[in-house]
């Protein structure tokens, strides 16, 4: 307490809790130095660099996204899109990653990403998402949202639709100024965008005007958005709040508000568990990873002191959700692995072939639930690996699909790892 402020002897219960205890939720710092028991293991990458292909692309990469695979596809993803920022001439580019190991026509290493096509983009690429196999929705720092179409026959990109002033400040003194659109999420054909103006827009891919706009949804900047259910979205903002918005309700109020305990550190990214829809992970400006259970309470379930600087993206692996990936301004990319070791299972599960697989899968799912939501660090085993050996500049973006990981940095390079779980 600062000198001069009086004590509050009869404060109502809630404010007392806020002012007194730093945090009701224990914060864990996963690092080998603070843990002696060995519950946390942190591995540095060792000789795994042959699987990673790097390519310097002369533009700082702000977003990289794998093109989604068709539903019944067996092969790993091989095409991804990137967006650049901080250039006079920003570009959206589509790249292809061929088969590992085979030499190309020029003798170059085929594993390196090859540029298929690119197109100029007005403003920094703030966020990007594939709407379907051919269309990409891009959020710009000028406040516009553009849908690009990738024509696979001619390998060209074209702008198919644009919502010009999706986000803008209603300035009292001047005309409407552009506000950056900071996040976009798609669920074909719906597109939800959020921006620095605190507005939430709901678009449909084929309609010219917004279906629904929530003005002044937030008094601070909305940093990211993701779908919770088909009609509900989650947003995070710069005063450390996680809000649930239900588009079925007509009023412009969030259905629920969650906030961090202690300091209101801005939250930058959010992702929902692919199977357990109540588990949500967010990343903060101080590099903290928070896991929330939105069925209960208004505070996070666990707080993990992870990176040393802003966490830009957090992703649950879409098909192996016991794996989580985070990347940060401090130049590191962490792979969080809560899948328990099969050898620890009771011995009867080792007999037989297919039945073993079935049992271990379902028990893994159950232990995953408890792993992410567990409050007790000694019970769960989590392996955390930093996938970048020589960190220099920020890793701005990452995306995982199947066995493939792509990430982009401010050192103007793209990295692809196609054997993530080898």
């Amino acid at each position: 307490m600062r000198a001069g402020t009086p004590d509050w002897p009869c404060l109502p219960a809630r404010t007392a809790a806020l002012a007194a205890a730093p945090s009701a939720v224990p914060r864990r710092s996963p690092s080998p130095r603070s843990q002696s028991g060995g519950a946390w293991q942190r591995r540095e990458p060792c000789g795994a660099m042959e699987e990673v292909c790097a390519r310097f692309v002369s533009q700082k990469i702000s977003k990289a996204r794998w093109r989604p695979l068709p539903v019944a596809a067996l092969q790993p993803p091989d095409v991804f899109a990137t967006g650049s920022w901080d250039n006079e001439d920003n570009r959206i580019s589509i790249w292809s990653v061929g088969d590992v190991g085979s030499a190309g026509l020029n003798g170059e290493y085929q594993g390196e990403p090859q540029l298929l096509c690119d197109i100029r983009h007005n403003g920094d690429v703030m966020d990007m998402q594939f709407l379907d196999q051919e269309r990409i929705v891009v959020a710009s720092s000028t406040g516009s949202v553009t849908v690009f179409r990738h024509h696979q026959n001619s390998q060209t990109l074209s702008a198919s639709h644009r919502w010009e002033n999706a986000h803008c400040h209603a300035d009292q003194y001047t005309a409407c100024g552009g506000a950056a659109c900071t996040g976009v999420i798609c669920n074909n054909p719906e597109i939800v965008t959020v921006g620095e103006d605190g507005r939430i827009n709901l678009f449909r891919a084929d309609q010219k005007d917004a279906v629904r706009t929530i003005d002044n949804a937030d008094s601070s900047t909305l940093h990211a958005v993701t779908f919770l259910r088909t009609t509900e979205v989650l947003t995070v903002n710069s005063i450390g709040q996680l809000k649930v918005w239900d588009f079925r309700q007509q009023r412009n109020e969030p259905a629920q508000i969650f906030s961090l305990t202690g300091e209101r550190v801005p939250l930058h990214c959010v992702d929902r568990h692919p199977n357990q829809q109540h588990i949500v992970a967010t990343g903060g400006q101080d590099g903290m990873l928070s896991i929330w259970d939105i069925r209960q309470g208004t505070m996070p379930v666990s707080l993990l002191n992870a990176h040393e600087a802003e966490m830009w993206e957090v992703h649950f692996h879409p098909s192996n959700p016991d794996h989580l990936f985070t990347c940060s301004e401090d130049g590191s990319l962490w792979h969080w692995d809560t899948s328990t070791d099969v050898s620890e299972k009771p011995s009867f599960l080792h007999q037989g072939g297919r039945s073993t697989a079935y049992f271990s899968h379902s028990t893994i799912n159950q232990s995953v639930v408890s792993a992410w939501l567990s409050n007790d660090p000694t019970k769960d085993r989590m392996e955390i690996t930093n996938l970048i050996p020589n960190q220099t500049l920020s890793v701005n973006t990452l995306d995982v699909l199947g066995p493939c990981l792509v990430y982009g940095t401010d050192a103007e390079a793209i990295y692809v790892n196609r054997q993530l779980f080898a």
Partner: protein
């Protein structure tokens, strides 16, 4: 370094007409006519897209070099530095190939020539760097020195490969018109095995020269070369070489090769006859090739310090009277003379940006080769060059992030330069501001942190984003700004009778304590909530505390008192009076005094 006493070069701005006095500035007053704004850029190179890869990759190597721990053992340290040097060179080569590809695919002829010029500049840079690596980083001693120089020459005279390919792929190599050229160039570059292989084809095709061929082949096979390992000392090698040289001499004087002029000239070359070597001028194309060939065949155990004499004489002999040395020649000559500072100075003058000299000087500094004499303004040469290079990076809209790391590793002036440059980066989006802020915070640049947060908070306030403004002032721990924001909220409340942005005020948490006004705002809102929930006794207690704690602004006293009035009518509040609670009684008395 002495100052160059020349006039600065004149830069012509295309499109500017001197007659219309377009390039000028006015201090207010009426403009003279239609005015145009010309964007003049220094440092055009950093805007080339292909060169950006060079800057980024070399940045990674630079940072790695600064960070890697110094090995204790001299040999391990040497190996480490050689590896770094090779990394730099491979980056230059990769950039060269990309530029070459770009040149080929460029449709515009101006662009094509621009790329081609860049390719040749990069090739020259790699040539110089390679030589510096051999002479300074690796500091090859006599013996291995010659081998390294041979590799160097072989790597950089590329026309040979085309010629060789042409001859070898023809059906009858020995009848090809360039056949003897190829054999000669192999001999000039010391590639004995390949020369012998080709000669064997000639011998098969021309059986009459079999005798001569056998002798020549034998001589070439027996030629002593310095070994890489330590299997023989220099003296042993010299003795062997002397014997071999005398044997070659005997064969030549006996007239063994008299019937074949080609073979005779090869034998003369083997003997180190300068005139014979000079006859092959067009094949060697450069004086440094001539130098290395000369050394190979006359002084294979040359010591590093002796290079300068041979270099000077080779250049004079090769260039003769007609041509004067070009900048590249003077740089290489300075390197052969082991004049490090001269090399760096010449490169700075000849090249258009600081990339090359900055990184090379840094590497040489790590090899502890640069004397630390200070330049007249205080910092040493390495730091000066790095500062210049990084300042150039900061003038680029995107490469400024690389410049930060370079400033970090300039101990004297780096921090000051960084502080001045980083304030001038335009902050278009919040994300960019966050990145700049993180850079400042990591280096404890509190002034810059405050200034950036204030700029962003003001912007947010002007756009009516009060929550964003508050989050920026929390980041800077700026109590004054938090007070400003709270005043804005309170003003809104007075005007409209209700609070805006309830989601913010209701959830302030511990950040409420940043400033008194903010605390008051939070507690006042709390009071309203309690009143709305009809918890009147708690509301009354809170209101009393707000009044007695002296954190309410004077303008708000009337409002507080007006809020107190309905409370006084509530039954629970009247009950308070009967409590032996000193505070509440005093408070009520206070209220009554003020009301009447």
């Amino acid at each position: 370094m002495e100052e160059l006493d020349t006039e600065p070069p004149v830069t012509v701005v295309p499109g500017a007409d001197p007659a219309r006095t377009q390039l000028c500035f006015e201090w207010g007053g009426e403009p003279r006519g239609p005015s145009c704004v010309f964007v003049v850029r220094r440092d055009q190179d950093i805007y080339m897209e292909t060169l950006r890869k060079l800057f980024n990759e070399s940045h990674g190597i630079f940072v790695g070099l600064q960070r890697c721990e110094e090995e204790r053992a001299v040999r391990a340290r040497n190996a480490q530095l050689i590896q770094v040097s090779k990394n730099y060179r491979s980056v230059i080569r990769a950039c060269m190939e990309d530029m070459h590809q770009a040149a080929i695919s460029a449709r515009d002829s101006a662009l094509h020539s621009q790329y081609s010029i860049q390719v040749s500049i990069l090739s020259a840079m790699e040539l110089i760097w390679n030589l510096c690596e051999i002479l300074f980083v690796e500091a090859a001693p006599a013996g291995p020195l010659l081998l390294r120089l041979l590799d160097w020459v072989q790597l950089h005279i590329c026309d040979v490969d085309n010629m060789v390919r042409e001859v070898l792929s023809s059906e009858n190599p020995s009848k090809h018109k360039l056949f003897w050229n190829v054999v000669d160039i192999f001999v000039l570059q010391g590639r004995m095995d390949e020369a012998r292989h080709l000669l064997s084809k000639e011998a098969i095709a021309n059986p009459t020269s079999m005798n001569m061929y056998k002798i020549l082949d034998d001589l070439m096979k027996k030629m002593p070369v310095p070994s890489v390992g330590n299997t023989q000392t220099l003296t042993e090698m010299e003795l062997k070489w002397q014997h071999w040289h005398e044997e070659c001499q005997r064969y030549l004087q006996d007239g063994t090769f008299a019937s074949s002029s080609h073979m005779e000239s090869i034998c003369k070359i083997l003997l180190g006859d300068e005139n014979a070597i000079l006859e092959k001028k067009e094949l060697m194309t450069t004086w440094y090739h001539f130098l290395v060939t000369r050394l190979l065949y006359s002084h294979p155990t040359v010591k590093p310090m002796e290079l300068r004499f041979y270099a000077q004489s080779s250049m004079d002999m090769f260039l003769g009277e007609e041509s004067s040395p070009e900048p590249l020649d003077t740089i290489l000559m300075a390197a052969f003379e082991f004049e490090l500072h001269q090399v760096i100075k010449e490169c700075s003058v000849a090249l258009s940006n600081w990339w090359f000299v900055a990184h090379l000087t840094d590497l040489l500094d790590h090899c502890k080769l640069l004397q630390s004499h200070n330049l007249y303004f205080g910092s040493n040469m390495r730091e000066f060059l790095l500062l210049e290079y990084a300042s150039g990076l900061f003038s680029h809209h995107s490469l400024w992030q690389l410049g930060v790391d370079y400033f970090d590793h300039c101990p004297e002036y780096g921090r000051v330069y960084l502080e001045l440059h980083i304030e001038r980066i335009p902050l278009n989006t919040e994300q960019k501001a966050l990145k700049v802020l993180r850079i400042c915070e990591q280096r404890q640049m509190h002034e810059q942190v405050r200034s950036i947060c204030k700029i962003m908070a003001m912007k947010a306030l002007r756009n009516n984003r009060l929550g964003s403004a508050l989050s920026w002032s929390i980041r800077a721990k700026d109590a004054a700004f938090a007070t400003l924001i709270s005043d804005r909220f309170l003003k809104d409340y007075c005007e409209r009778g209700r609070f805006s942005d309830l989601d913010l005020i209701d959830n302030l948490g511990p950040s409420m304590l940043l400033s008194d006004r903010l605390t008051f705002l939070g507690k006042y809102r709390e009071f309203h909530r309690l009143y709305g929930e009809k918890r009147f006794s708690e509301a009354a207690r809170l209101l009393l505390m707000l009044m007695t704690a002296h954190i309410a602004p004077c303008s708000f006293w009337m409002t507080l008192l007006t809020d107190a009035l309905p409370l006084l009518e509530q039954k629970e509040v009247r009950m308070l009076n009967n409590h032996a609670d000193g505070l509440s009684t005093k408070g009520v008395q206070f209220l009554l005094v003020l009301l009447f």
